[in-house]
Amino acid sequence: MKKVCLIVLALSALILSACASASTPTSIPTISLDNNNSSPSTQSSDANSVSASAVIVPVNDAQLSFSSVGRVTAVNVKVGDKVTAGQMLVKLDTTILEAKVKEAEAGVLAADAQIRYLNRLATDPLHYESAAADLARAQALLESAKATLATQSTLTAPFDGTIVSVDINPAETVVPGQVVIVLGDLSKYQIETTDLSERDVTRVQVGQSANVFIEALGEEFSGKVTDIDRVSSTLGGDVVYKVTIDLDKQPQGLLWGMSADVQIETAK
């Protein structure tokens, strides 16, 4: 009697653990050569095709950050805003940089007055040349200060796109390289595989056609391989290569990060 109980308990534990592991993501593609039915949602690579999981990403995206330390005075955009190239997104406090420009301007004035004075007195060329060099130096300092003010204090959009994330608020500080805004051109998406193994990548070539099943839309779309990574990356111990696929037609309702299953036709 006890034995039966134990067996039942062990069985139910087994079933439960099987369920649990089924809900965690499986990333390693399995190659089953005998499987000839090409259902796009199941991951199977056969002699004529290579299957992989993929993710939807914009063709063009940028992680924007400042090149200097500063305190933010204004954040002009929020997530979802559409921006155009050159539009100002974030502004830093410029009190110090403005003071530096003013200082350099005064320096130019002083050097300029000195050279006019020497010119009027018709002094010896040596003094004059020295003053001319001083003026050139002061002007260079001014240009440098102005360029610093213009380039380091504002973050502008490098291309037309949509604001995808804003990780900064007014009054917060930034350091060089800290990503404060992610911008993406959400008008055009492409598909990037995440788990295409090294065993399959040799059969994939640029120009091959692919079927892309987008889970969120529940629909299949056609596309073409446009790029294959030249360097591998590793995914949970597997060596994988990122393959990029362009969709023949951009479907409505795509969002950055949605997942897809792709099947690349390798036999042609």
Partner: protein, 259 residues
């Protein structure tokens, strides 16, 4: 034999629960998800310089108003630089005055003249005053970086340092949050459901802590997915139609977004 049936029943109900739960998640046309209560705005304040903390004038829970001083750093060199720049400005101003009063003795045709200083010399003196003025502004701006002030009215949510501690550049010292304006952010809304969610969609909210059912509206959909435990999820932001009392940051809620 009884215990056999009992364990069989137990495992069956467990299995059933596992399969039925996801089916409950999305019922006819609406989208269900878990969500968490967050402030509408969180500001994480830090310093641009690294120094010792001199004074902290607020504590967690305090209501602060825009412009109020929160934390002061100990930066004697910045203070000294301001004093030095002030002195340099006074000196330049004095020099400018001297040049404007100065007369130069000159003899022309046997007569003695007292000429004013050439205009260029006075212009140079004036340019030096402007330079000193700009230097002082710069030194003052650097000194001002040692003070942290509240950028807007808010509640102090966290204070991460005590006086005497050393803070690094860009380290978060004080977190301000608008606790009077809270909203919800979903944590597990799947990519399969996101296409049904639209900005402005009405939402039924069930707050677990107070066992209350209230309504709200979708005000934001993240354009980019996150992955949570291998699942692709999208963050959806929901505003309350009327914010309930006693709601705290971090409380959980179940939301049903109507299509």
């Amino acid at each position: 034999m009884k215990s056999f049936y009992r364990s069989m029943l137990l495992s069956l109900t467990l299995l059933l629960a596992l399969f039925v739960k996801p089916a409950l998640a999305a019922q006819n046309g609406s989208v269900a998800a878990s969500a968490v209560v967050v402030p509408a705005q969180i500001t994480e304040l830090g310093f641009m310089t690294s120094a010792l903390v001199k004074e902290i004038s607020v504590k967690e829970g305090d209501e602060v108003t825009a412009g109020q001083t929160l934390v002061l750093l100990n930066t004697p060199e910045a203070e000294y630089n301001v004093t030095a720049a002030e002195a340099a400005l006074r000196s330049a101003l004095g020099e400018e005055k001297v040049q404007s009063y100065r007369r130069i003795k000159d003899r022309r045709n046997g007569k003695v003249f007292f000429d004013v200083v050439p205009p260029e010399v006075r212009q140079i003196a004036h340019a030096h005053v402007e330079q000193a003025q700009a230097s002082l502004e710069e030194a003052q701006a650097i000194l001002a970086q040692s003070t942290l002030v509240a950028p807007h009215d808010a509640t102090v949510a966290f204070v991460k340092v005590v006086p005497g501690e050393y803070v690094e550049q860009n380290q978060v010292i004080v977190t301000l949050a608008t606790l009077h304006t809270l909203q919800l952010e979903t944590t597990d809304l799947s990519e399969r459901d996101i296409t049904k969610v639209k900005i402005g969609s009405p939402v039924n909210i069930s707050i677990e802590a107070s066992n209350e059912s209230i309504t709200g509206k979708v005000i934001g959909i993240s354009p980019r997915a996150n992955t949570v435990g291998g699942d692709v999820v999208f963050k959806v932001t929901i505003a309350f139609d009327k914010q309930p009392e006693n709601l705290l940051w971090g409380m959980t809620a179940e939301v049903t977004i109507e299509e």
